[in-house]
C-alpha cells in the first residue's frame, strides 16, 4: 500500500521533471527573436508617421511602448480610440491623450497650391510615405490616396503652398449613426 503510494509519487515527480525539462528546452530552442508585442502595438498605431509622439515614426514608438519606455497616450492621430485599444492590449489603465503631443484632428490631406509651387522637391524629401510626386522645377502634387495627413511636408515648403485640408464626410464615407431612441418633444402651444 505504502509502496504503491510512494511509487505513484515517484512517477509523478519523474513526469513533472521530464515535462519541465522539455518545456525549458523548447523555450530556448524555439525562442522568438523579435518581440511580437511590437507588431501588435504597431498594428494599432495609425501609421500616419507624423512623429508627434516624439519618435521618428510609428514603429519606433511601438518599440518604445513595448519596452515600457513610453506611455500609451502620445499618439494624437490614433486618438482616444487608439489609446483604448493599446490599454486593452497591454492591460493598462486608459489615460487621456497627452496634450504635449498634440490633439486629435479629423482625417486630413495635404493639397499643393499648384499655382504657387516652385518645384523645389523639399516636400518630397519630407514625406514619410512618398505621397508627393513631382520632378525638380516642376509643379508637385499630392497623391491623395497615399497621403496620411501627417503635415510633415508643410514646414519644409519655402513658399508655404501646402495646405492641410480636412477630408469631409461624403456619401461614400458616410456611416450609419448609432441608433438613438427618439424623444418626442412635448408640443407647447404658441
Amino acid at each position: 500500500m505504502l509502496l504503491a503510494f510512494v511509487l505513484a509519487l515517484g512517477i509523478m515527480a519523474a513526469l513533472a521533471l521530464l515535462l519541465g525539462a522539455v518545456l525549458g528546452w523548447a523555450a530556448i530552442r524555439y525562442k522568438v527573436d523579435e518581440d511580437p508585442l511590437v507588431d501588435k502595438i504597431d498594428a494599432i498605431l495609425p501609421q500616419t508617421q507624423c512623429g508627434q509622439c516624439g519618435f521618428p515614426g510609428c514603429k519606433p514608438y511601438a518599440t518604445a511602448i513595448a519596452g515600457d519606455e513610453a506611455d500609451i497616450n502620445r499618439c494624437p492621430p490614433g486618438g482616444e480610440d487608439g489609446i483604448r485599444k493599446l490599454a486593452d492590449l497591454l492591460g493598462k489603465e486608459f489615460k487621456p491623450l497627452n496634450a504635449e503631443n498634440g490633439e486629435e484632428k479629423p482625417k486630413s490631406l495635404a493639397v499643393v497650391d499648384e499655382a504657387v509651387c516652385i518645384g523645389c522637391t523639399l516636400c518630397v524629401q519630407a514625406c514619410p510615405v512618398d505621397a508627393i510626386v513631382g520632378a525638380a522645377k516642376h509643379v508637385h502634387t499630392v497623391v491623395s490616396s497615399e497621403c496620411t495627413g501627417c503635415e510633415l511636408c508643410v514646414a519644409p515648403c519655402p513658399v508655404d503652398c501646402i495646405d492641410i485640408v480636412p477630408v469631409g464626410e461624403t456619401v461614400t464615407s458616410w456611416k450609419w449613426r448609432y441608433p438613438v431612441i427618439p424623444l418626442t418633444p412635448v408640443k407647447v402651444a404658441a
Partner: protein, 626 residues
C-alpha cells in the same frame, strides 16, 4: 384584397418571413402614367454600386436625350445618360436620394422641351463577343433596378458552360410597391424578349419567373407572353405565396430551386443567377432599341391623391413626381423605397435615381408613431422571422455594445436588412438600425486598416530606399578614396600629401559654395542627393530679402512664368517668413539639433535592421510551419 393566383405546386419555402399589410391595391388599379418631361432634371452620377461615374459634360453644354453625360469609372461602375434634350446648368454636389442627406455629384439639365433623341444605332448583339456586350451594357448604364443597383454587365458572362437556372425576380414582396406588377401587366411581351436575350447571353438551361400570388394579372400576362413568344428553352412562371421577403435573391432562389446559397458563395457558382424583372426589361430596351436607362417605372403612393405608377425620367425631381400624383397635406416625410427597407428622403428637390422604385408619402395614419424601444426579452421571435437564419437578438446586443468582431463572427454580413426581425419584435427594437450601424463601422474600420497597412508599407520602403542610397553613396566615396591612394602610390612625401589634401579640400569647398549658389539660383535641389535643406533655403531667404543681390527671384519667375505680381508677392512674403523661422531655429541650438538628427537616424537604422531581421526570421519560421 384582390383575388390571388394559385400558388405553384413545387416550391421550397425559406426560413422565416413575415406578412406585413400589403397596401398594394392603392397603386395597382391604374395603368402606368407617362410623366411629362419636367422643366429641370437633377441626374445623380452615382447610380450604381461601385465607383461614381465621371462627368463628360460641363455647364453650358447642350445635350441630347440619351447622350452619355458620365462614363463608367472602372469595372464596377455604370454610365449615366441625359434623360432629355436640353442644356447643362450645373455640374457638382447636389442633394441625392441617400439616407445621409449629403450632397453628391449630379448633373442638372434644363430641358428644352423638344425631348430630341441622340442618333441611335441598333447594336448587333447576336454577333458580338461577350466582352463587347458587357461593355455595351455598362455604357448603356444598365444596373439592377430592384433597388441594389448592381451593374448588370458584371452578372453577364463568366459562366462558360452555361447556367442551370435563370431566376427572374418578379416577386415584388415589399408592401406598397407595384411598379414591377404593372410593368409585367403592360409590357410582358417586351419582358419576355428581355428574358430571351439574357437566357441566350448566359446560356441558361431553364428560366423560372418568380411572382407572388398577390399579382394574378401579372402572372397571367407573363404566362401568355411566354406562350406566345417562340422560345426554345424551358421557361415557367412560378407563383409563390406572399411572404416577405420572398423577393430577396437568396430567398427566391431557395423558393424556386431549393438551392441554398451559403454565406460567402455566389449563386453563379451553384448554377443560378437572379435578375430583377425591370432590369430584364431595360436590357431588352438597351440591346434591341439602343436605349440607355433614362427612365423607370416608379410607384408613388401613400398620402397622395392619385396613387399609382409613373414612367418617369431619371433625374425627375421628387417634388414634381409628388405634384403629378397630387401631394396631399399632412405628409411628415417621404420614404424612398418600400416601408421595410427604404429610408426617408432628405428633401424633395433631389432627382429620381435608378434605385428609386417607390416613393411613399408618409403620414401619421399610415405610419403611426413607433412605440418606445423596450429592452430585449429574448423571446426569439426575431430569429424565427429572419430569412437569413441569423440570431438578430445577438447581433443587436453586439451592435449595441459595439462589439463588432463578435457580430461579424455571427454572420452579420449575411443580414439583408429586410427588417422582418424588427417587424415582429414585441419590444419595438429597431434592430436593422443597429445592423446598419455595425456594418458601416466595420467597413470604416476595414478601410482605415487598409490605409494604415499601405502607409506602413510605403514608409518601410522609403526607409529601406534611404538606407540603400546612403550606403551606395558611402561605397562610392570609399571606392574613390581607395583609387586615389592607390594612384598616389603611397610613397610620396608626407608634406606633398598634406599639400595635396589641402588643395583638394579647397577645391571641394569651392565646389560646395558653387553648388549652394546654383541651388539658390535654381531654387531647386537635385532630387537624389539629399542636400541639407538649410543650405538651400538660407541663401534663398537672403535672395528674397535682397532681391537684387542674387539671381534667385529671377529664377523664381522663370520657374513659374505665369505668376502674377500678387502671387509673386505672396511667394516672397512666404519665403521671408520661412527664412526668418529657419534663422530662429538655427540660432536656438545647433548642437542640440544635430544631436537630435543623429539620434533619429540611429533610431531609424535600428528599426530597419530589426524589421529586416524579423522578416527573415518570419520567413524562416513560416516555411516549416505553413
Amino acid at each position: 384584397m384582390n383575388a390571388r393566383a394559385e400558388v405553384s405546386k413545387v416550391i421550397f419555402p425559406f426560413h422565416g418571413g413575415v406578412h406585413p399589410p400589403e397596401h398594394k391595391d392603392e397603386s395597382s388599379q391604374t395603368p402606368i402614367a407617362a410623366m411629362p418631361v419636367p422643366r429641370q432634371l437633377v441626374v445623380p452620377l452615382h447610380q450604381s454600386i461601385g465607383n461614381i461615374a465621371k462627368a463628360l459634360v460641363a455647364v453650358g453644354d447642350t445635350v441630347l436625350k440619351g447622350q452619355m453625360i458620365a462614363e463608367a469609372d472602372g469595372t464596377v461602375s455604370a454610365a449615366v445618360h441625359a434623360p432629355t434634350s436640353g442644356r447643362v446648368v450645373a455640374v457638382g454636389p447636389t442633394l441625392v436620394p441617400h439616407p445621409s442627406g449629403l450632397p453628391e455629384h449630379c448633373v442638372t439639365i434644363e430641358s428644352d422641351g423638344e425631348d430630341r433623341w441622340i442618333e441611335r444605332n441598333r447594336f448587333d448583339w447576336r454577333n458580338a463577343e461577350g466582352r463587347i456586350i458587357r461593355d455595351y451594357l455598362r455604357d448603356m448604364g444598365v444596373v439592377g433596378l430592384g433597388g441594389a443597383v448592381f451593374p448588370s454587365h458584371l452578372k453577364i458572362g463568366g459562366a462558360r458552360d452555361g447556367l442551370d437556372t435563370l431566376v427572374i425576380n418578379a416577386a415584388e414582396c415589399e408592401p406598397y410597391i407595384t411598379c414591377d406588377d404593372l410593368l409585367m401587366r403592360e409590357r410582358a411581351a417586351q419582358v419576355v424578349e428581355g428574358i430571351k436575350i439574357v437566357q441566350h447571353l448566359l446560356q441558361a438551361r431553364q428560366v423560372l419567373v418568380g411572382i407572388e400570388d398577390n399579382k394574378p394579372q401579372a402572372a397571367q400576362a407573363m404566362r401568355e407572353a411566354l406562350k406566345n413568344a417562340a422560345i426554345n428553352f424551358p421557361a415557367d412562371v412560378v407563383v409563390v405565396p406572399t411572404l416577405y421577403p420572398s423577393g430577396g435573391a437568396k430567398q427566391l432562389i431557395k423558393l424556386l430551386t431549393n438551392i441554398e446559397v451559403p454565406s460567402g458563395v455566389r449563386s453563379t457558382d451553384l448554377g443560378v443567377q437572379c435578375f430583377n424583372v425591370a432590369t430584364i426589361y431595360t436590357i431588352y430596351r438597351a440591346l434591341e432599341h439602343a436605349e440607355p436607362v433614362i427612365s423607370r417605372v416608379v410607384t408613388i403612393t401613400g398620402n397622395v391623391q392619385r396613387p399609382g405608377n409613373v414612367d418617369a425620367l431619371i433625374g425627375t425631381p421628387i417634388a414634381d413626381l409628388l405634384a403629378f400624383a397630387g401631394d396631399k397635406p399632412g405628409s411628415q416625410a417621404y420614404i424612398y423605397g418600400g416601408p421595410m427597407m427604404g429610408f426617408e428622403l432628405p428633401g424633395t428637390s433631389l432627382g429620381l435615381s435608378k434605385a428609386g422604385n417607390c416613393i411613399i408619402a408618409k403620414n401619421g395614419a399610415l405610419f403611426p408613431e413607433k412605440p418606445v424601444e423596450m429592452p430585449c426579452i429574448r423571446c426569439g421571435k426575431c430569429a424565427d422571422a429572419c430569412p437569413a437564419e441569423l440570431q438578430p437578438m445577438d447581433l443587436y446586443w453586439f451592435g449595441k455594445s459595439k462589439n463588432f468582431g463578435k457580430a461579424q463572427e455571427r454572420n452579420l454580413f449575411d443580414c439583408i436588412e429586410c427588417g422582418a426581425c424588427a417587424y415582429v419584435c414585441p419590444s419595438n427594437i429597431q434592430l436593422v438600425d443597429y445592423f446598419r450601424f455595425s456594418k458601416s463601422e466595420i467597413w470604416a474600420a476595414e478601410k482605415a486598416k487598409k490605409a494604415a497597412d499601405q502607409a506602413r508599407e510605403r514608409h518601410e520602403f522609403r526607409q529601406f530606399r534611404e538606407e540603400r542610397e546612403k550606403r551606395e553613396k558611402a561605397e562610392r566615396a570609399a571606392a574613390k578614396a581607395a583609387a586615389r591612394t592607390e594612384a598616389s602610390g603611397g610613397n610620396v612625401a608626407e608634406a606633398a600629401d598634406a599639400e595635396r589634401a589641402a588643395k583638394i579640400k579647397a577645391a571641394m569647398e569651392r565646389a560646395a559654395a558653387k553648388k549652394v549658389e546654383a541651388a539658390a539660383a535654381q531654387t531647386a535641389s537635385d532630387s537624389v542627393t539629399p542636400i541639407d535643406p538649410d543650405a538651400v533655403s538660407v541663401p534663398m531667404g537672403q535672395a528674397a530679402i535682397a532681391p537684387t543681390s542674387n539671381e534667385a527671384p529671377q529664377a523664381v519667375e522663370s520657374a513659374a512664368p505665369a505668376l502674377d505680381p500678387e502671387k509673386a508677392e505672396r511667394i516672397r512674403a512666404a519665403m521671408e517668413k520661412r527664412a526668418a523661422e529657419k534663422a530662429a531655429a538655427e540660432a536656438m541650438s545647433p548642437e542640440e539639433k544635430a544631436a537630435k538628427e543623429a539620434e533619429k537616424k540611429a533610431k531609424i537604422a535600428a528599426a530597419m535592421e530589426r524589421a529586416a531581421a524579423k522578416k527573415a526570421g518570419q520567413a524562416a519560421q513560416q516555411q516549416p510551419g505553413e
